[in-house]
Symmetry: C3
Subunit: 303 residues, 3 copies
């Protein structure tokens, strides 16, 4: 059994989420859950479940990759194909993204896609992360994140990429771009997306410290738009969608594009350079060593 295979069976996000002692509300490096991976017992079953209601024009996309919907290459590929299908179906006007896993929306990028992998494979993975962001951030559909659990790092990015964010009102759930805590750096388009959502200063401090925010803190800084009791997240998303769909599609889409196009163009015109940059960063000995230590810590913790 390879190290990698051994690690696979050991990791889960619940350990991550309580790993660091909590700090003051200003500087709270709580949970470096940026990079996770997960048991892949069910690698052949679909990681994404889509229910499209033709009568309302709304699709509900459930992320169902146990235990924590980590964003692996397989997961992202499946997600992108699903979004693209809906995007091309003119009868689909709204997309709600949520999780079928308990306590977590998505725990972010899969660490195993970055540890001990060839540069080619790392590049392929990063291209899929870009693709996910491009597809959702630029979608013509109304996109609502029904955040029914924690959503660190790549999970936070996915949520921010939607038009509207409804989060479960649970102080145990956190959300944020916490990459910095693991010694890695959010790329410029993660940064741009967050700046567009919560402004420059909040983003600066969030990224410097890799901050994770509780649901109520996230509401306060505008990282999410609304908190509701956990069992009402999906129904509220559906009700909100109805209101958004009352707006003429064409004008809404043009307005959205006007707001987001400059940010999208920055990545599309620098996509190859961004991949190169990621690959050269993540394959550095020092970074691989950090990832190995992190994985070993997780292993020991659950050993």
């Amino acid at each position: 059994m390879s190290l990698r295979a051994a690690l696979r069976t050991k990791r889960c996000v619940s350990g991550l989420l309580s790993q660091l002692p909590s700090c003051s509300s200003h500087v709270r490096p709580r949970a470096p859950a940026v990079l996770v991976s997960q048991q892949r017992n069910n690698s052949t079953s679909p990681k994404i479940k889509v229910d499209f209601d033709q009568s309302t024009g709304v699709a509900i996309m459930q992320m169902q990759s146990p235990p924590v919907n980590s964003l692996s290459l397989d997961f992202l590929t499946e997600l992108c194909i699903s979004v693209e299908k809906l995007e091309m179906d003119k009868s689909c006007r709204g997309l709600i993204i949520t999780s079928s896993q308990p306590k977590v929306f998505s725990a972010g990028l899969d660490i195993m896609e970055m540890y001990g992998k060839s540069p080619e494979r790392c590049g392929e993975f990063w291209k899929a992360v870009q693709e996910m962001w491009l597809k959702i951030y630029g979608s013509n559909m109304v996109t609502i994140a029904a955040i029914n659990g924690s959503s660190p790092a790549g999970g936070c990015l996915m949520a921010m990429t939607c038009d509207y964010r409804i989060m479960a009102d649970n102080p145990r759930y956190s959300i944020g771009l916490n990459e910095t805590q693991l010694g890695i750096v959010a790329p410029f388009w993660f940064k741009d997306t967050m700046t567009n959502t919560v402004g420059h200063r909040t983003t600066e401090m969030a990224l410097e410290l890799g901050l994770l925010y509780s649901s109520s803190e996230a509401l306060k800084i505008g990282l999410v738009d609304q908190l509701v009791p956990e069992d009402q997240v999906l129904t509220t998303a559906t009700e909100t969608m109805t209101k958004w769909l009352a707006i003429p599609d064409h004008a809404r889409q043009l307005s959205k594009s006007m707001m987001r196009k400059p940010t999208i163009d920055k990545l599309t015109s620098n996509r190859e350079a961004d991949i190169k940059n990621f690959v050269s960063f993540i394959t550095k000995d020092s970074i691989q060593k950090s990832l190995r230590m992190y994985l070993e810590m997780l292993k020991k913790r659950r050993g």
Copy 2:
């Protein structure tokens, strides 16, 4: 009697302002009053009244084009001439813009300037809208909007173009760029002005949904700076002006220019393209059809 003439005598903003059922505070497509027009019984009487007090250096500009100060080509031309005169008068240092019409500041662009008109005329109209924005947003005078009534769409733009906004504390009055609700799209410089005022995320949601905000909501998001009882709007504007005029003009003007010049330059260097873009959009069959349906709905409602 032409359709247009028939419509002219029928439309008024009060109907518009209660047209859609109100929704939640998050998504509230209340009043698609973006495009209005008005009875022109008094087309030869001045639409703009200016009182300039030489002793204080402050001019009060009353918009008095019944019923709702809609921004027609005539109205905008008169307004621009008035502003330019004051701008060139070195003794005029401050400008307060308000409405003499009950319950409305300005109801925005006149729909009749966009419906069934030649491309040339549409272009002429749009140039006047640009001119109004350029003149006020770049004014060397201190400009204060005394918002004593509702101020949708172009009315909101005019208010945002000033240095400071005082609004009547009346929950029935609303303000916002609600173009999207009518199927049309705020141009990039409307968007830039709003982003400069309330930030990127608030603007994104406001434009996607065509949101109108009540006066207290507008204060909360920073769309207006101050609420006062309705009968104190003008006196508060006058008092505030005195404080602004205590600041050395030259330094204030340079500071203002430093903040606004990049946004102004974006339009001045794209003015012709922006006109072409508007004309090609507004003369589309689908858009003209939307406008006709809208006008017919108004006609029926008051028939």
Copy 3:
């Protein structure tokens, strides 16, 4: 005794801070303390005191140039040398900037460096102001401003240039870029720094009016991050530093650079033009006359 020498012995900031009548909270031109100078009785003693604790990796920099830590060429030169030394010392990871003077953090640029000076000298001075900003805003160290007193103009700039701002909770202390009140204009990189900190609209109004904010107002708009009782400013800064230093340096530095580099690049690529611009502005007869009148007013007031 030259006019300049005479003035030197007369000026102090306490007079400045109560010079204008206070106004409403919206427009409050309280203290035009943008330009100060100070007695230089102890011109040979160090203006900057640095205590570097090798065991924690944290340096505390005390500004100790009586009476008000005004930013003279000598002061800035000494400060820049100190920061550079710490920056090059790999064992120094954090820098806390505070004042050893009572009631004032720093009162900003020294007026005597701008009045009656040769263009060459003015240029040299301005270059030092730029250098201070470049060194701190781009520092790889964690920088925390422990603002234990008023901090107008250049003092506010210095505070904004840090990663985190803790201010004494004292309503008598104010902070802000109040240059406009004296008839001078904050340069574009002061403006950019403020926009990055509190957003576009707040900056626009702050600069147009030269606003100074009380400590609680400053917290509300995000100009400072935290208020604590005056005697706990430094200890809180030290505790906060510990939390920031728990974050991996490299990732934090890269995140910081990603947020600040575009703003820094704007100045570095326009540095000479910015100096020329300042020199040509400050040596104008009208500006020199303003400064002379201001100095004479101070002189009379304390005569």
